[in-house]
């Protein structure tokens, strides 16, 4: 379901862990109190049955390299190992990545070391994600925000949400990086997500199931949210540490507003996670030791060049690069 096919490099990659998580999320059994779907380490029979349907028999794939990413997979469901191995062996040019911890591969001496030129699922996602955004989510008509900032291109994150089950892939990548971050700082406590937008709430809901964290929300940042603020304030969690969940972060103004609310109410903000970060350095609102995990990160330059993304205000000089190229937006401000 979630394989990534890179036609430029003639590579296909499959994350068995993501496939397993999808299988699990489709079953109502994951709706149990202690579920933390991301921590699944066993590839289930049902998932293997689905995976072996993938054959790549089309002629165009005959010279593609196929990578099977075993990250986070340690065990295979009983009586299903042979089926999986047979499928891998029948794939053309198949290689195994991150198979060191998988018992089945060890027993069959199939662990393939990670070597130059091989990319794991996370790395290949960067290319996939950027192409996906450029192709599906960018509206060149642009958008004027409520606070008078004009965007050269509107990136509609909801296109990912409306695209069947695609959002699970993006949330998986966030969970993957977040898990890696907490492993690197040797932290194993349950965090709390904080969200304040519709998109953020939906993403936080999925992340909450993947990572087992609770979430706290404020129904919009604005003057009429007293009701929820009061409840948030009264809640026992107000002095906890929060990770703000956003969809797209550019200048970070909205993140700062969320941070201010959390801190005003006695909590601490541990960092920010989201789908896209348009400025990968982000020194203005996050310190280097804070959580800073996004599925995709652009530099301002790459955002401008790859997506045509620009931010302008009434104070923008007509001499700016975008304007020089004749860029206009439909609300009359250039």
């Amino acid at each position: 379901m979630f394989e990534i096919i890179n036609d430029d490099q003639k590579q296909i990659i499959i994350s068995l862990h993501l496939e397993e998580i999808y299988t699990e999320m489709c079953l109502k059994t994951h709706l149990r109190d202690e579920a933390r779907v991301f921590s699944k380490e066993t590839l289930s029979k049902k998932c293997i049955d689905n995976i072996v349907q993938l054959t790549f028999e089309e002629k165009k794939y005959s010279d593609y390299e196929c990578f099977i990413d075993f990250s986070h997979i340690k065990y295979i469901a009983p009586n299903s190992g042979d089926k999986l191995l047979e499928w891998i062996q029948n794939l053309p040019n198949a290689s195994i990545i991150h198979g060191e911890e998988c018992q089945l591969l060890k027993e069959n001496k199939m662990c393939v070391a990670y070597k130059d030129g091989m990319h794991d699922y996370r790395e290949m996602f960067n290319d996939y994600g950027k192409k996906y955004i450029a192709k599906n989510c960018c509206d060149p008509k642009g958008y004027e925000t409520q606070i008078g900032i004009c965007l050269g291109v509107y990136v509609d994150i909801k296109k990912i949400i409306n695209d069947s089950i695609e959002m699970l892939r993006w949330c998986y990548i966030i969970a993957y990086d977040l898990d890696k971050y907490f492993l690197s700082v040797n932290e194993d406590k349950k965090n709390l997500f904080f969200c304040h937008t519709l998109n953020g709430a939906y993403i936080a809901g999925i992340l909450s199931q993947l990572l087992g964290y609770d979430l706290v929300y404020v129904d919009h940042l604005g003057p009429y949210n007293k009701l929820n603020k009061v409840d948030f304030y009264k809640g026992k969690s107000r002095t906890e540490e929060f990770i703000v969940v956003a969809d797209l972060v550019c200048l970070g103004n909205e993140f700062l507003r969320a941070k201010n609310i959390v801190e005003y109410l006695g909590g601490t903000v541990k960092g920010c996670v989201g789908i896209i970060q348009m400025n990968d350095s982000i020194p203005a609102f996050l310190s280097p030791d804070q959580v800073n995990v996004f599925a995709l990160k652009y530099t301002p330059k790459s955002a401008r060049e790859e997506l045509g993304y620009s931010v302008r205000t009434d104070f923008c000089s007509a001499q700016c690069e975008h304007c020089k190229k004749g860029g206009t937006i439909n609300n009359g401000i250039s």
Partner: protein, 585 residues
């Protein structure tokens, strides 16, 4: 599985005086109480934790209690009754009468146990409460199948002519425990042991059920037990394996374990039951009449309901002790609903007895698969949601306006969304609705309404991978061009399924449906799937020639509208829309 049910009541406050009468002296109330207990299997024991009468000097009031207990025995088949005295049972007049006696130490009048509880001891003797001493351990009962020992402890030790916080005669108690239970409890080694006393030893923090130690002054000088004395008492209890302490005195129901920084877990389950006898209605009515506000007097029933839900209330608890070690505590309250009063199960807690912890875990580990499939079949989502609302006090009362819709009460569902285990329960319930209802099986699209709808959708989205899913702000006026475009590419979304938390008037659903109609210009069907249906009759009116609406929910709740009524309401007249005011706890 063998089990025993025990009903725990407290603070009966019987009185011979007309203006002090206990509500237990009203026939309807007593009959409602007895009727609510009729037919309960294995209910053979009654525990009364003190304040039997309103004034300990009233011999006649105790006679009235005799009749009440006889009725209980006759109609419910109660075989065992254990009772302890409370501060109201102390007869101060008799103590004052002997205060001039030279043989009596007037500084320590409280030691005159025979005198100060004279009428209580007579009452005790008539009713066979298993009396033992007149301080320390005042009564005990040994029960079999399941094996239990009920231990009645006197906490009125220091109460004489003036009141005092709870205090227990440690020396007498230690000696009695040793004599009755044997050295280290050897006489009744595997028996479940329950201590009953009048004063609550600790303070409970209502919101989180976390409880802390107390020096007896935090909720009034006489509110709880002397903390130093209680620490010593607790050591005795734990030395004899007593892990349950049932109390009364404060007229409100709460339970929990002490969990603080100093004492991570003191291994005792404390449970305080509210008063069964105090006539709160009379107290409230007196206050209202004094206030001179006719409107408030007219709304008396509503106010009694609010008052009793928010603070003091008539209540009783039912305990179930299973032989396996599982223990269940059910709290019942006497509530007003649509003008009628009835006993309602308010909250249920289930936990394992310490002694049997290991056995139960093994049983659950081996039977988990079967157990979970059984649970799934019988899961009562409505009960779980209502219990959560009660337990976490999510039903707010007061006066608030949301836009122009006037309401006196509302349900704070944010708790559901902020606690994963509750969200899982709700998601399982919603999945159940989708599996059960044919119309939903065929629906091709689901729309979450508002931020709560978006969270809800994230929990069920992957259960329906082939359905189109999205979410929208609750107010169509907030839709941007991209959100409006959602309707344009959705020719086949009919019926439209809308996911939301609470449906009251259906105005949000209608405004989104109208937006849908404006885009599509075709008659269609809306199916609303809500956590709570708070509509007056379970229906959202259809819009002729535009759409019809079906409503499915996990729970139904009544939400009370503003008494002033829309245009007659001050808040509405003064155009204070969006002003939110509700009663803080």
């Amino acid at each position: 599985m063998a089990y025993r049910k025990i009903v725990h009541i407290s603070d009966l406050h019987f009185s011979e005086k007309e203006n002090e009468k206990s509500v237990l002296q009203k026939d309807k109330y007593v009959n409602d109480f007895i009727d609510s207990l009729k037919g309960i299997d294995s209910l053979d024991t009654l525990i009364i934790s003190g304040d039997i009468v309103n004034k300990g000097g009233s011999q006649g009031a105790y006679r009235l209690v005799d009749s009440f207990l006889q009725k209980i025995r006759d109609e419910l088949g109660i075989k065992n009754i254990l009772c302890v005295p409370g501060n109201h049972d102390v007869n101060r007049n008799l103590l004052l009468g002997i205060s001039g006696d030279e043989t009596v130490d007037t500084e320590r009048l409280w030691e005159q146990y025979d005198v100060k509880l004279k009428y209580y001891w007579e009452f005790d003797e008539r009713n066979d409460f298993g009396s033992y001493q007149k301080s320390g351990l005042v009564s005990y009962k040994v029960l079999h199948n399941p094996n239990m020992v009920l231990l009645g402890i006197d906490s009125t030790d220091r109460i004489g002519t003036s009141d005092h916080c709870g205090f227990i005669n440690i020396e007498n108690l230690a000696q009695a425990f040793n004599d009755v239970l044997g050295e280290e409890g050897g006489n009744y080694k595997d028996y479940i042991k329950i201590a009953v006393l009048h004063h609550r030893p600790i303070i409970y923090e209502s919101a989180s059920q976390r409880v802390t130690e107390n020096n007896g002054s935090d909720i009034g000088q006489y509110g709880t037990c002397d903390s130093e004395n209680w620490e010593k008492t607790k050591k005795i209890l734990l030395a004899y394996d007593v892990h349950y302490v049932l109390t009364g005195h404060v007229h409100g129901t709460q339970s929990g374990q002490i969990r603080s920084f100093d004492v991570p877990n003191d291994e005792i389950n404390y449970s305080t039951v509210g008063s069964i006898g105090v006539d709160f209605s009379r107290e409230i009515k007196e206050r209202l009449v004094l206030s001179g506000d006719k409107e408030l007097v007219d709304r008396f029933e509503e106010l009694v309901c609010y008052e009793s839900l928010n603070g003091n209330h008539n209540s009783y608890n039912i305990w179930t002790f299973y032989e396996s070690g599982l223990v269940q505590e059910e709290q019942y309250k006497y509530i007003v609903d649509e003008g009628k009063r009835h006993w309602c199960r308010w909250k249920t807690k289930t936990f394992e007895d310490k002694e049997n912890e290991h056995i139960d875990k093994e049983v659950f580990a081996t039977g988990v698969q079967t157990a979970s499939s059984i649970i799934e079949e019988v899961e009562d989502y409505e009960e779980k949601i209502l219990t959560c609302i009660r337990e976490h006090e999510l039903f707010k009362t007061g006066h608030y306006h949301w836009k122009s819709t006037p309401r006196l009460s509302w349900i704070d569902t944010s708790y559901f969304f902020q606690h994963k285990e509750m969200m899982f329960t709700i998601a399982r319930g919603i999945n159940g609705i989708f599996e059960k209802e044919e119309a939903l099986k065929n629906a091709s699209g689901i729309i979450g309404l508002g931020i709560k709808g978006a969270i809800l959708l994230s929990y069920v989205r992957f259960l329906f991978p082939n359905k189109k899913c999205s979410y929208l702000p609750e107010n169509p006026k907030e839709y941007n061009d991209y959100e409006k475009a959602l309707f344009e590419g959705s020719e086949n979304i009919n019926p439209v399924v809308m996911l939301t938390d609470v449906v009251h008037s259906g105005s949000v659903v209608k405004s989104v449906a109208n937006m849908f109609y404006e885009k599509k210009k075709m008659y269609f069907k809306v199916i609303v799937v809500a956590i709570i249906d708070a509509t007056p009759n379970g229906i959202i009116a259809k819009e002729k020639r535009k759409y019809e609406v079906d409503l499915f929910s996990l729970a139904r709740l009544k939400v009370i509208d503003c008494h002033g009524g829309g245009e007659n309401c001050d808040i509405y007249i003064k155009k204070l829309a969006n002003v939110i005011e509700y009663k803080e706890d």
